[in-house]
């Protein structure tokens, strides 16, 4: 028979799990067709692609942005990476379309539709909620973010994905704030969002990363996907 203390511990554990779930449910992961060569993309480049300022990545891969018509991933993507509301984004695209300067990007109704379109379309790049299945697509890590400086990543190590969590299908995107010293070493990391256990593993890996040296200390934001479907 469980004691009251054990019951309380169970309740706290459940509450903790729910809190961490809600933290990464509000987040988003970036997916791409396997034809896209890179495994990571800078936040600035991601923004340029979705605002149709560029149609190919720095590595030469041609890309096509794919939007979601709504949902938590869509809201998170607009806020985190485009810095626009739904209304201002639609106005932006319509301005391009009706002055002849761009096209209306493909927009899919659900995460599964986005994944399906990205999987079958060469160069497609989209976003879905962290818990979505990503069969047939690759997940991109996002480096840098709005209001953060960007430094080129020289060496990086993938974080360990704990086997127990992977087996139990627990994943999501972890967001970290990373402080980079002038010499390029990672000075500190801070968990901004995502599962706290995965966050610990992500921070352990990121602390070994090395960026290009700069004139002063800078901060950046890193999103690391833990995809239980890969």
């Amino acid at each position: 028979m469980k004691t009251i203390t054990q019951h309380l511990k169970s309740l706290i554990a459940v509450a903790g799990l729910m809190a961490s779930l809600s933290a990464f449910a509000a987040d988003v992961k970036i997916i791409a067709n396997p034809s896209v060569k890179t495994d990571s993309i800078s936040a600035d480049e991601l923004k340029s692609v979705f605002l149709e300022e560029k149609s190919s990545l720095n590595d030469g891969s041609r890309v096509e942005p794919v939007l979601s018509k709504g949902g938590s991933a869509h809201d998170a993507f607009l806020k985190l990476y485009l810095g626009r509301t739904e209304a201002t984004l639609q106005t932006y695209y319509r301005t391009l379309v009706f002055t002849g300067k761009g096209s209306m990007p493909k927009a899919e109704a659900s995460d599964s539709d986005v994944v399906a379109y990205v999987a079958r379309t060469r160069g497609a790049i989209g976003y879905v909620s962290p818990e979505s299945s990503t069969d047939g697509v690759k997940t991109l890590a996002v480096i840098g973010g709005e209001n953060f400086g960007s430094r080129k990543l020289v060496t990086h190590v993938d974080p360990v994905y704990p086997a127990e969590l992977y087996k139990n299908h627990i994943g999501g995107v972890v967001r970290l704030k990373v402080t980079i010293a002038a010499n390029g070493n990672v000075e500190s990391t801070e968990l901004l969002g995502g599962n706290p256990v995965l966050g610990e593993y992500a921070m352990a890996a990121v602390k070994t990363w090395v960026y290009a040296s700069g004139s002063s200390k800078t901060k950046t934001e890193v999103s690391i996907p833990f995809d239980p479907n890969r």
Partner: protein, 394 residues
């Protein structure tokens, strides 16, 4: 009249629901996008007739426009497209469709691209989008800077642009530039043509060389954009005065425009200043010499998902630089505006707008909404207007 307007809105709703289903098709293995829009307005004024409509009685619904475009991305850097546009605004447009834009564009890099054909002219915040009602909170943009009756004179050019976006570092934001040159040609159903014809002459043509540029800076302060535009012109106005052919040519013709926009969450604040200088003459003698200056301050806020409210103050005045005195009471138009915009869905919008105007510009010299021919009884100093407008796009 009301029945007609609501009928049009209902038809728009039906068409929208049908048309949003089929916008793309394949042609020679290329994806072609088709988009369109339409709007219908109604204007009632308490005093003077406005915008060439008989607005001061019951009101006028002669305020319709629509357009459609097709475009395709040939390669990741090369795209082509064209848009047709038609409008009927009182005595303007008169249902004669025009090629709004049609061009090919090649973007070599994000910082350098070329486009050629008939191109919408980038000037200020909204010159190239002034007809696209669904993009704006307001039913009528501030007429001090974007006079809808005179849109032909700045709207587009047949020629080419160079353009690009230049990042200048995280600390300094980014720059966008456009430089252009081409030929402007006013429609015989434009505001200047209407003025010439209503003065008893017969309009033949108005147009010529236009060239200039626009530079805008997305500042490092998030949401703040500032910019400046310049347009130079060398134009010729041809008309028949009785049996006599008349031709006035530019001695000096230019427009300067400065602007700023700040976006914070669901709030958008705009301000612009435009100065237009014209000196038209013949055989070295100035016949028309005017200095037109306008500015406005506007703000809009999305209070809930489907409702925006907005307001602006638009201020415009005209001087005769050669020392001639303006007719008493004329030469300015100060317009205070309040608007509510409701979007029933992402394709439709309905706007209700009030205008409270002091002044009527210079009706028989430089048209800006008020024309002597529409107001034979003479113009009153103040005009209040109610504008109701509905539209859709897909």
């Amino acid at each position: 009249m009301y029945r007609r307007i609501f009928g049009l809105i209902f038809v728009s709703l039906c068409v929208t629901q049908a048309s949003t289903q089929a916008q793309d098709f394949k042609l020679f293995d290329r994806n072609v996008q088709i988009h369109g829009f339409a709007s219908q307005g109604f204007v009632h004024t308490d005093e003077n007739n406005w915008l060439t409509m008989n607005t001061s009685g019951f009101g006028s619904g002669e305020f319709t426009d629509f357009g459609a475009n097709a475009s395709t991305q040939i390669t990741d850097k090369f795209r082509i497209g064209a848009q047709l546009y038609d409008r009927n605004l009182g005595g303007l447009g008169k249902w004669h469709p025009s090629l709004d834009w049609a061009f090919a564009s090649y973007r070599f890099t994000p910082w350098f691209g070329l486009r050629g054909g008939k191109v919408k002219t980038v000037m200020g915040l909204y010159n190239d989008t002034q007809d696209l009602d669904f993009l704006h909170t307001f039913a009528l943009l501030p007429q001090s800077v974007y006079p809808t009756d005179l849109r032909d004179s700045t709207l587009a050019h047949e020629g080419g642009d160079i353009f690009g976006d230049i990042p200048v570092g995280k600390k300094f934001g980014s720059l966008s530039y456009t430089a252009y040159a081409g030929h402007r040609s006013d429609s015989p159903y434009s505001g200047y043509a209407y003025l010439v014809n209503s003065d008893g002459a017969q309009f033949k043509s108005f147009g010529g060389l236009q060239y200039g540029g626009d530079l805008r800076w997305m500042t490092p302060l998030k949401g703040l954009l500032v910019g400046a535009s310049r347009m130079n012109e060398d134009v010729t106005l041809d008309f028949l005065n009785g049996p006599t052919d008349m031709r006035l040519g530019s001695k000096s013709e230019w427009t300067n425009q400065y602007y700023g926009q700040y976006t914070w969450k669901k709030l958008v604040a705009d301000t612009e200043y435009r100065r237009y200088w014209t000196d038209l003459g013949t055989q070295g003698i100035s016949i028309i010499q005017e200095d037109v200056r306008g500015w406005y301050v506007a703000g809009s806020y999305q209070i809930v998902k489907r409702v925006q409210v907005g307001s602006y103050f638009s201020h415009y005045w005209i001087n005769y630089p050669n020392g001639n005195l303006l007719p008493s009471g004329s030469g300015h138009d100060y317009d205070k505006v309040v608007t509510v915009r409701f979007d029933p869905n992402r394709y439709m919008n309905i706007k209700v707008e009030g205008h409270f105007m002091d002044g009527y510009g210079l009706p028989n010299e430089y048209p800006n909404g008020f024309y002597g021919a529409n107001n034979p009884q003479g113009l009153k100093p103040n005009t209040n207007a109610l504008v109701i407008k509905g539209g859709f796009n897909f």
